[in-house]
Symmetry: C2
């Protein structure tokens, strides 16, 4: 490897390459908490052709290469588990074009999601995907992981907005796939195949995104319930009542306890809450719709009081701040946590949450659930006190995955399989399906140099 790396290093000498200890340490970790995996080099290309050059050099010298965005991923997708090169897309950070009349934009992969959202909102447009990490995560990372977020309920996930890609294959070959129009079916849906491929089938160097007109009015409220059973039932009532809120977020009792006293007074007896957000073409519409949705959400008489309605942008921000604080506040309880990302059929949500809690109870671990209840996408968190509890945590995680699949669900809604969930994939998918995907990976990447050690179970 050292010999090969030295030759690779010489091949990349015209590019920005770092291998100081601090850089390697920084690129050896991400938000998954899966541990440290140091790359040998970090390369920072500035153009599509430099990305092609890196891929070609890694192919020629047979060195593993792992694409990396903001390292905010939760499944370890950007960790260079086999060493080699970390290919950072950070320098490709330009918004190339926003075309309001056609409702499309073209960006480089290193653009920060929030920067892009603000840029399009300034011209009256709207880019819906909104993972919690919006302030730091990159659009390239969003494409790799097919990122979601609360607004996915009404507006879908990243793949619903990617129209076209400039895509560098592991060989270094560059393909322009997809289109710049809102519809199109010419040839195979390679965009569909590449979005969510977790950096294992190639790297996006340009992304053409669909935009929407910015909804003129948004209204948000928080509704309280005695327990997740009533809250989950309220979700069903709302969704069966027609219309579609843009967000329906759930916090369970542990999550509420973790954030109480941080800006919202939860009613007494509150064991679960929903954050409901609607949007529409006018203030009147949004208010009427919020009222209609809130009535549906209280229709079985289980809601505690009338709920808290955000009357302006500040109050809305305060409700969402609570939602964003959940993850860190839960971590603070015991010092460590693993955040899961399962999806169950909506009718099984209350049952799933109860069974996850039961897993924690049996193992002596605290389990909290919050997340995108409208989609059935639950961020179940296992809280723990340190490495000594990791074996228990691993048992809890596996039990959660088995329950999820047993209820007809999937092991990952938006975080990806990556490193942390690859051993669980076979709980969900047939061996034939996993084998066929492995063969597809080898078809695209015959040397298996691109992001190796991810997505599929170890042999």
């Amino acid at each position: 490897m050292n010999e090969r790396l030295a030759r690779l290093r010489r091949a990349l000498e015209s590019l920005e390459v770092k291998d100081d200890r601090a850089t390697l340490a920084a690129y050896g970790r991400d938000e998954s908490g899966a541990g440290e995996f140091l790359p040998a080099l970090v390369v920072f290309p500035r153009t599509s052709s430099e990305v092609q050059a890196v891929m070609r050099a890694c192919s020629t010298h047979d060195v593993p290469v792992t694409p990396v965005g903001a390292r905010s991923g939760k499944s370890g997708g950007a960790l260079p588990v086999r060493g080699g090169v970390s290919l950072s897309l950070e320098r490709l950070d330009r918004i190339l074009e926003v075309r309001p009349a056609d409702l499309i934009a073209t960006v480089q992969p290193g653009v920060i999601l929030e920067t892009f959202q603000k840029a399009v909102e300034e011209v009256g447009l709207f880019y819906p995907p909104d993972p919690n990490s919006a302030a730091v995560c990159t659009l390239g990372g969003n494409v790799a992981e097919n990122a979601g977020g609360p607004r996915a309920l009404k507006y879908g996930v990243t793949r619903d907005y990617v129209l076209g890609l400039e895509w560098v294959l592991p060989s270094g070959e560059l393909l322009k796939v997809g289109r710049r129009t809102l519809k199109g079916v010419a040839g195979y849906d390679l965009v569909g195949l590449f979005v969510g491929s977790e950096g294992t089938l190639g790297v996006a160097t340009e992304i053409t995104l669909k935009l929407l007109p910015r909804p003129p009015a948004v209204m948000t409220a928080l509704l309280a319930y005695p327990s997740v059973v009533e809250a989950a039932d309220a979700v069903s009532q709302v969704l069966m009542g027609g219309g579609l809120p843009r967000c329906l977020e759930l916090l369970d009792d542990v999550a509420i306890a973790a954030v109480s006293g941080r800006g919202i007074d939860f009613p007494s007896g509150c064991g679960a809450c929903l954050i409901v957000e609607v949007d529409g073409p006018s203030e009147e519409f949004a208010l009427a719709e919020l009222d209609r949705v809130s009535r549906l959400a209280a229709s079985r008489g289980a809601a505690l009081g009338p709920g808290i309605v955000a009357m302006d942008r500040d109050q809305r921000e305060r409700l969402w701040a609570i939602r964003r604080l959940v993850s860190e506040s839960l971590r603070a309880i015991k010092g460590f946590k693993f955040s899961e990302d399962v999806v169950v059929p909506r009718s099984r949500m209350a049952e799933a949450i109860a069974r996850f809690k039961g897993v924690g109870h049996d193992l002596g671990l605290l389990v909290a659930t919050y997340g995108h209840a409208g989609d059935g996408n639950l961020h179940t968190n296992v809280l723990y006190g340190g490495e000594h509890e990791r074996p228990l945590v691993d048992r809890a995680l596996e039990a959660i995955m088995r329950i999820t699949v047993d209820l007809g669900g999937t092991i990952t809604g938006e975080h990806g399989v990556g490193l942390t969930k690859r051993q669980f994939l076979s709980i969900e998918q047939q061996k034939a399906v996993i084998d066929w995907q492995r063969r597809l990976k080898v078809f695209v990447d015959p040397q298996v140099i691109l992001n190796p050690g991810k997505m599929f179970p170890e042999d």
Copy 2:
């Protein structure tokens, strides 16, 4: 071939197989008007395992096999251009499950779209894709072609509703891909790859579909304009004004002339019209929204009069009947037509329509355009009087494709490439992209027995 067919026929003797002249003639044609291509046999499996058996037998005996639904496709995707077996999915026609609480359904591929739409509407649900052929086309065909329709503007196309597939590969192997939940990113998006693969990568034997709650209220109106320039501008005004109608359909002057006197009185001077449809959670909302949208559509003062608002279901039906009559009425003008399906960026729509008309003018052919203006998806029709004009028609079609790509568009929005557009694919896509797709096809189907002669240009 005859020897191989005889052996294949023996291998299939436990299945329903037909080779009488009338059946072969029926399965040798479709709605593309691309001509007659007779299969040697038509096989009608009744279960997934029978589909597997057909595929295995065709692999073993190296006989081409072409999957077929209702033969309502417009690009010749179901025509057995190399003879062999037509694999009809018609007998797999059961709705297996509708789960209102989870907003999903599972169907077999031979279910007629309209039958399915009515079945889910009866329980308060909604399946949005609505190609013009809804009364005859099958869900399997919709999956193969990634069918769209007018409601795609707000609700997206078939691929946006397919969550999971039971999929038979050309080898006969059966994969269960995707999921039964609303979100999910475990593994590669094989559903994304398979939907729209035009029967060249395998056959769906079960389809799990996402549903929506049925919008309680729908309102429709027809707005008239002096020409497509004003109508296209109105489309932009509406879409930039926030909110999203579910349909924004355009008819140009030739299309209007073709359907005038068939139930709607178009205002005098009307050279283009838009059919606008909105939906929402209540009658009041829908009416207010239709009013808002109509104002936007008239905001540049170009609309002719206040428009025709459908006040009830019957009147709405009458407006849509006009839209559905366009295709046949245009054919009646000269006896023959080719219906195209291009998409251009919305800002170039008026220019595209004018240039398409110019192509007709230069060649002495009548060209009419109608279609899904909200998406920029234009069904441009070249009308002609018989085979003697085909060389001119072919020149017109190629010119229309070149103009489309020149404007940043795509050669097919929802009909597929199939047989009729395969020679045009290289106008739109790089050689490298086409070559890579050909290799992907061979990876999935090494013998190239599944629907050969489609999608890619002849060598």
